[in-house]
């Protein structure tokens, strides 16, 4: 039932470029889609392990830079008179590199999360994103610093019979983001609805009890952070090849906050939460653009956010699910079978 709804949603989205071939609508939807993928990845960490990463833009940015640099190629000095050189690679290699680099840093952060939790973890993730931003700003030889990496090639796709086709047009980019987003959603769903997902939720709800039944804390936190970082890296890579220019601002705190807001208003710890929250907060700024001055827009945006958090603290998706006819049937308690005591 829910799966049918999901595929209908994907089909409806896939039809958008055909029904409304308006480039503005498509570009808004494509950027929203990229951030929804970021929110889906954040939800795995924030919603299912309960760990708040306020440096999630770091993985997004790492994916963007790694992917862009691999597809542009680079030639840099790494000290001791050595040079590191890479010729431009096909975009799909960059895409995979973006996922791998972000995933590797996710592994590091996951190991760290074992030692520090809660507020300390939050502070470390913020620092992590800030340090990366500083590196991106100052390592001019590699990243061009504030001058930005330009001329990033568009994403390309190998199609049977046509070879590698670059995806220049808006509908193509949109379909690519929709495809990657669907994959990310399915990946998270498979993980969450499995023994791994149960272990993550058990750790979130009661770590002491979870350990007592044999759930290995580090192991499962590392799996979650690597997957989450890898998906965020994929979103960053899509971003780099879509806008085709990136600067150190991809590491800005506001991008993390945007993803956190999407996850929390949509419903953290639910599969559809980041999608619903992402559609609202990804599309609203652009929908309001035509009808209200920017100042009024920002106020409306802020008020809506406060209202959502006040009245739907668990998010939109759980609230809507609560309105649907309850599946829980109240059953009479049956006493345990009692042996007569001797």
């Amino acid at each position: 039932m829910s799966a049918v709804f999901g595929w209908l949603f994907v089909a409806a989205m896939a039809a958008v470029p055909v029904v409304f071939p308006d480039p503005y609508v498509l570009s808004v939807l494509t950027s929203a889609g990229i951030f929804i993928i970021g929110a889906i990845s954040l939800n795995l960490l924030l919603g299912y392990t309960g760990q708040l990463s306020l440096g999630h833009a770091a993985f997004f940015g790492l994916g963007a830079y790694a992917s862009a640099l691999v597809s542009l190629g680079f030639d840099i000095g790494i000290g001791f008179g050595l040079r590191l050189r890479l010729d431009p690679q096909p975009v799909f290699v960059g895409f995979l590199a973006g996922i791998a680099v972000a995933g590797a840093f996710g592994w590091l952060l996951g190991r760290l999360a074992f030692r520090v939790r809660g507020a300390y973890f939050v502070v470390i993730t913020i620092c992590f994103a800030q340090v990366l931003r500083m590196v991106a700003l100052n390592w001019v030889e590699l990243t061009q610093g504030p001058m930005a990496l330009i001329g990033i090639p568009p994403a390309s796709l190998w199609l049977p019979g046509q070879g590698v086709v670059p995806l220049y047009t808006k509908p193509q980019s949109f379909w690519l983001v929709l495809g990657v987003g669907t994959l990310a959603f399915l990946l998270v769903r498979q993980v969450v609805q499995s023994r791994i997902g149960r272990a993550l939720v058990a750790l979130r709800e009661n770590e002491t009890l979870a350990r007592s039944v044999g759930i290995r804390v580090t192991h499962y936190l590392v799996i979650a952070t690597v997957l989450s970082a890898g998906i965020a890296g994929a979103a960053g890579s899509l971003f780099a090849h879509y806008v085709r220019i990136i600067d150190p601002d991809v590491f800005l705190f506001i991008y993390t906050v945007t993803m956190v807001i999407m996850v929390i208003t949509g419903g953290k710890g639910t599969l559809w939460g980041p999608v619903v929250g992402g559609l609202i907060f990804g599309l609203m700024p652009d929908l309001l653009r035509g009808s209200a001055p920017p100042e009024a827009q920002w106020i409306a945006y802020g008020v809506l956010m406060i209202l959502l958090v006040m009245f739907l603290p668990r998010g939109i998706v759980p609230a809507v699910a609560g309105l649907l006819p309850a599946r829980r049937r109240p059953a009479p308690a049956i006493a345990a079978m009692v042996e007569p005591a001797p």
Binding site: V201, N206, R211, I334, V338
Partner: protein, 261 residues
């Protein structure tokens, strides 16, 4: 009979306080052994040391001959030694059925690849775990409550669920920390029946409990702890008559003239 659990000269300090001074006892396979003593005697601390939640300062703990020193609670659980908690410990917002499935973690082995690809082996495992979860709930009489959240269970039901979670993965040795705390007489009787059934299924049980009537009726052996030391160790009939134990419980003696029997 072989000793399943051997505790030798274990000492645990919490800050500057000596919670357990010198603890030595064994638990034989197939028995129900109770660890009793007045409040603050160090019973829960002993549990924490055995299950890896606290590091003993001295001594050695062996389970099936294997030294447990330095092992994490999750590793110890994987060896077949699982505990329950004194304070009600459940996965509150999750349904009772989900609670049971989470506690069956060690009964499964599928990893990331299995989860992503939904291989036939993983599907079979999921189906088996689901059945085991229902069997477990049936065993503790919570089948009818499977779909409600654990938070909304009555107190006695939550306690039963707590035992079910600890017993779910069929450990060889089950440590129960005050399973009857706060239960009324009929619930206590149910709890006792449950412990007997667990023993009959082949689970060895080490019990901490304040309900003396229950302890006397259910235990094969009783170890009495006072102020971090063992003052008696023997079958219920013997413990009942032990002057040292009577004195410790009446609180007339501060000095303990002799150590473990």
């Amino acid at each position: 009979m072989t000793a399943l659990l051997e505790v030798e000269h274990v000492a645990v300090q919490i800050g500057g306080l000596v919670a357990v001074a010198d603890l030595s006892f064994t638990v034989e396979e197939g028995q129900v052994v109770s660890l009793i003593g007045p409040n603050g005697a160090g019973k829960t601390t002993a549990f924490n040391a055995i299950t890896g939640y606290m590091r003993p300062r001295q001594g050695r703990i062996r389970f099936r001959g294997q030294d447990l020193a330095g092992l994490s609670p999750e590793r110890i659980a994987a060896l077949g030694l699982v505990r329950s908690f004194q304070r009600t410990s459940i996965f509150g917002p999750c349904t009772v059925f989900e609670n049971a499935r989470m506690a069956l973690h060690l009964r499964g082995e599928s990893g990331l690849l299995g989860a992503l690809l939904r291989l036939p082996g993983m599907r079979r495992e999921e189906a088996r775990l689901r059945e085991e979860a229902f069997a477990m709930l049936d065993f503790v009489g919570l089948t009818a409550r499977a779909e409600v959240t654990a938070d909304s269970l009555a107190y006695g039901e939550q306690r039963r669920l707590g035992i079910a979670l600890a017993a779910a993965a069929a450990p060889q040795l089950l440590l129960l920390d005050e399973p009857a705390a706060g239960l009324n007489p009929s619930e206590t009787a149910e709890c006792m029946a449950l412990i007997r059934q667990l023993r009959d299924r082949g689970t060895t049980i080490l019990l901490v409990e304040h309900d003396m009537a229950m302890v006397m009726r259910i235990s094969d052996r009783i170890v009495v702890l006072n102020q971090g030391r063992i003052i008696a160790d023997g079958p219920p009939a013997e413990i009942r008559e032990d002057p040292e134990v009577i004195r410790a419980y009446l609180g007339t003696s501060r000095e303990v003239p002799h150590a473990a029997a």
